[in-house]
């Protein structure tokens, strides 16, 4: 609550911290107040605006085509019209963030909690519930779901892309079940790469630094000028360990990856895309291996071998008259060899989407899809296994939505539902109703009700996880084991949202969203019986039986506030503040052992960011980011404030040079707990980057 007052709060208790805090507040004040003073001193339009306009209209068409323009701070139109809490990170935002990975870029999105666990792992949550995998956020890359049904969630360390080829990342906070499918309970992260039409030429970028020790990205793209375009890329990096208080630097991360994309447009009606990636990486990890035989429990430090590939084909047809459809299919292969388990997986997915208008400003969207994910999990350590060891997860979906425009399209209503069935569930519905009102040209108000589901995964239905708790006096080991729960159901959400966007004076934009989520059948850890002597598997041991259940219910509520202001054409300021309150409790008859508190205490109640992006003439850009995250009591993590800075020099058309500093306010800080061993802290880091594009 203490942090309610100021946007940026540093931990108390040190004199220097107070000085820093003082400076931060002064800076904030200066940023907030100064431009108003300026605004009086000179017209709000950029200097020479009138003359420039007079000059522009006298240009020939050819000359006009060569005028460089600034990017307005205005939000893209499709964002403006979306009745959901959507935020778009553009290529420019990503480049200017200095991030070298997608998770680090996501730190800029309001309401998204990104915490680094170690050099190659993160906890990324939306509106709460962040964890190593985060089971209620759906992640897609170019329409390919990268959420795994094995342990429910996203392995971010294998979702690498050449960031220069990312067109945008759309983050939808809140449930998106109707359109996006199961597991889009708390949000959707939709990563979209550029069309190969937009990546012609050669591009090489080299990075060297103290944590991002080395990274090289290279791409070549071309086209035949007649609708066919392509690109190929390769990337490799070596990321050093973060800070380990015990000196055991296990988390080095090395990766090589390559891929391609081909786009073909046959006239204006049909567009075809084929793309694929292949990767091989080693991620250092420290895991607990539990075995029925002595020594029962060991910590293993070593390197997980992760490799895989995917290929996707998409056909889009625009038929005119508001009619279009899309057919997409992909295949994804995953080889995951961790120190304590393995997953070898083939996923096939096919999706069809169609839209057509109906009389009376109605637009119908519908689609069907199917996914088969066949996984094999050879047992690596005896205390962690899946039964059966080889399974096929199935998903069948269908959806129907009607967007109705009323009162000259000032009001639009979207009604729809998703129908789905998995190998673990019967047919289930995910309906939603959304309302968007545009009272004036510069304002939108929207509200939504959504019912969304997180479907059962192999982790609940086919997974056995053993934990060693100690040896008894008679020398027999005592274990607790989560057994597979054949009755685990989908987790349910009923979400209520309200949002407001306003564009003031062409250069100030404000987005406020509030939500109230009610969760039912929520994930719990249940004790299901008294300890007993189990003789098989050998040796004999005492076992406390447990399982994952649906024993919790609860609510979350919160507000996200994201203003943006472009005081000058060359200067953009963005801020965000998000507030989150989580209240979970045991449902009636729940056997939960106490999951509610630790879950509530693992997401920050307050988060704030302040971003400044400045262009100095054409040649330089300077970007500063301040971030505040409040404490995570259940993780033993204190609140922190830190900053990133990036200086870029665009030397002519071909070269640019950047220096990026990250996590600058302290030599290291903690963001999330890691297990086993002491927590790993995020180091202050600096890197240099040279980019050549031709």
């Amino acid at each position: 609550m203490r942090a309610n007052r100021a946007v940026v709060v540093l931990p108390k208790g040190s004199r220097t911290a107070d000085v820093v805090r003082g400076r931060m507040l002064a800076l904030l004040l200066a940023i907030l107040v100064f431009p108003f003073l300026r605004a009086r001193a000179m017209p709000a339009e950029f200097p020479g605006g009138e003359e420039a306009q007079a000059h522009l209209k006298d240009l020939t068409l050819a000359q006009l085509g060569n005028v460089e323009v600034t990017t307005a701070s205005k939000v893209p139109e499709h964002v403006w019209k979306t009745p959901a809490a959507i935020y778009v990170l553009t290529q420019d935002d990503i480049r200017r963030s200095g991030a070298t990975t997608i998770p680090d870029a996501l730190r800029l999105v309001p309401g998204v909690e990104v915490a680094r666990i170690n050099s190659n792992q993160w906890s990324i949550g939306i509106r709460g519930f962040g964890s190593r995998l985060t089971r209620d956020v759906l992640v897609l890359i170019d329409g390919r779901t990268v959420y795994t049904t094995l342990l429910a969630g996203t392995y971010w360390e294998v979702q690498n892309l050449m960031l220069a080829d990312v067109e945008r990342i759309e983050v939808i906070r809140g449930p998106g079940g109707t359109i996006w499918g199961p597991n889009a309970v708390n949000g959707v992260i939709n990563i979209i790469t550029k069309s190969s039409k937009d990546t012609h030429g050669k591009y090489i970028s080299v990075i060297g630094g103290n944590v991002d020790e080395g990274m090289i990205n290279a791409r070549y793209g071309a086209g035949n000028g007649n609708g066919l375009d392509y690109r190929v890329y390769g990337m490799a990096f070596d990321r050093g360990p973060e800070f380990h208080p015990d000196g055991i630097d296990y988390d080095r991360w090395r990766s090589v990856q390559g891929g391609f994309r081909i786009d073909f447009a046959n006239g204006e009606r049909n567009r075809y895309t084929v793309q694929g990636d292949i990767y091989d990486e080693g991620t250092g990890q420290s895991v607990t291996a539990t075995t029925y035989a002595f020594p029962y429990q060991q910590v293993l430090d070593g390197t997980a071998r992760l490799s895989g590939g995917n290929i996707l084909a998409r056909w889009q047809q625009t038929q005119g008259q508001g009619k279009d459809f899309q057919l997409q299919a992909y295949y994804d292969r995953t080889n995951r060899h961790e120190l304590n388990f393995a997953d070898l997986r083939d996923t096939f997915d096919v999706d069809f989407l169609d839209r057509f208008p109906l009389p009376g400003d109605q637009q119908i969207s519908w689609g069907v899809g199917a996914r088969f994910s066949h996984g094999t999990n050879p047992t690596v350590v005896s205390g962690l296994y899946f039964l059966p060891g080889s399974r096929t997860d199935e998903l069948y979906t269908g959806f129907l939505q009607d967007d109705i425009g009323l009162f000259d399209n000032r009001v639009s209503i979207s009604l729809g539902t998703k129908l789905m069935k998995t190998n673990y569930t019967g047919v289930q519905l995910q309906p939603s109703g959304r309302l968007l009102w545009t009272p004036t040209k510069t304002e939108t108000i929207w509200g939504a009700y959504t019912h969304a589901l997180r479907t059962p995964s192999d982790a609940e239905r086919a997974f056995y996880l053993l934990g060693f708790t100690g040896s008894l006096i008679n020398g027999l080991p005592f274990f607790a084991r989560f057994n597979a729960n054949p009755n685990f159901r989908s987790e349910e959400l009923n979400g209520y949202e309200l949002g407001y966007r306003h564009l003031f004076l062409e250069n100030v934009y404000v987005d406020v969203d509030a939500f109230y989520n009610h969760y039912g059948d929520f994930f719990s850890e249940d004790l299901v019986g008294a300890p007993f002597l189990e003789n098989s598997p050998t040796p004999p041991h005492y076992l406390l039986p447990a399982q994952f259940g649906n024993g919790l219910v609860g609510t979350t509520r919160g507000v996200e506030f994201a203003p943006e202001w472009k005081p000058m054409p060359y200067w953009r300021l963005r801020a965000s503040y998000s507030f989150l309150q989580m209240q979970l409790r045991k449902g009636t008859n729940s056997l939960d052992v106490g999951t509610a508190g630790p879950t509530e205490g693992s997401s920050p109640r307050h988060e704030a960011t302040l971003l400044s992006g400045l262009d100095i003439k054409k040649a330089f850009s300077v970007d500063l980011t301040f971030r505040y995250v409040s404490h995570l009591p259940a993780q033993g993590i204190r609140s922190y404030t830190t900053a990133d800075a990036q200086f870029t020099w665009h030397a002519g058309q071909q070269f640019s040079f950047s220096v990026v500093g990250q996590n600058l306010f302290q030599p290291y800080h903690y963001e999330f707990a890691s297990n086993p061993g002491p927590n790993v802290a995020v180091k202050r880091s600096v890197y240099g980057q040279i980019t050549w594009a031709h």
Partner: protein, 198 residues
């Protein structure tokens, strides 16, 4: 963890850095007047407005058009992205001997007196019906909606890197009885000869 012991060194080292960042930030605040020698670029809206004004000069207009009001009308359909920029661009200018005026309209049915119809991206969801109407009314349709020319608009403004260029659909122009000058077709980044299938 021993947070107390650590925090001292954390902040003493960071204080120099924080000061540096603070000074740097303060510099930026003063910067606009002092260090940016003003070669600021025009906005997208300004360039698009200039195009709208210019396009009028490269089209042979069917006779009788706009005769009712006696002015050359540029109409903006839907949410206006230009604000005052468009008005100031065309202020006092004329095309084909007629004074240019700017109208904001909310339904394509109100476009009867228009010469140039700029279709705002707010109207994308019912673009097809708008374009059908516009062809019937013989309007020069212009928009920055993606693939506008492909979808049956006459001129689509497209952004290429930091520049605004345009595509022309010649078939739509013919259907709308608009004669486009060769210079317009020469400068277009793409000339589409096909009709959108209807």
């Amino acid at each position: 963890m021993k947070p107390g012991g650590r925090s001292r060194s954390v902040f003493s080292r960071s204080s120099a850095l924080a000061s540096f960042l603070f000074c740097l930030s303060s510099l930026f605040l003063l910067c606009p007047n002092i260090c940016l020698g003003q070669e600021s670029k025009p906005t997208e809206s300004q360039v698009k407005a200039a195009y709208l004004y210019n396009f009028g000069k490269f089209v042979e207009w069917p006779s009788g058009r706009g005769a009712v009001s006696g002015s050359f009308q540029i109409c903006v359909l839907g949410r206006d992205p230009f604000g005052a920029v468009l008005d100031s661009t065309v202020n006092g200018e004329s095309v084909a001997g007629k004074k240019i005026s700017v109208q904001r309209i909310h339904r394509v049915q109100d476009a009867a007196g228009c010469n140039i119809l700029f279709v705002s991206s707010s109207e994308e969801s019912h673009l097809t019906s708008i374009l059908g109407e516009a062809r019937r009314m013989r309007l020069l349709t212009v928009s920055d909606i993606p693939h506008f020319a492909e979808r049956g608009g006459v001129i689509g403004l497209v952004r290429q890197e930091d520049r605004i260029r345009f595509e022309v659909n010649r078939s739509t122009a013919e259907e709308s009885h608009l004669l486009l000058s060769s210079e317009l077709l020469k400068v277009a980044v793409r000339v589409i000869e096909r009709k959108p299938k209807s």
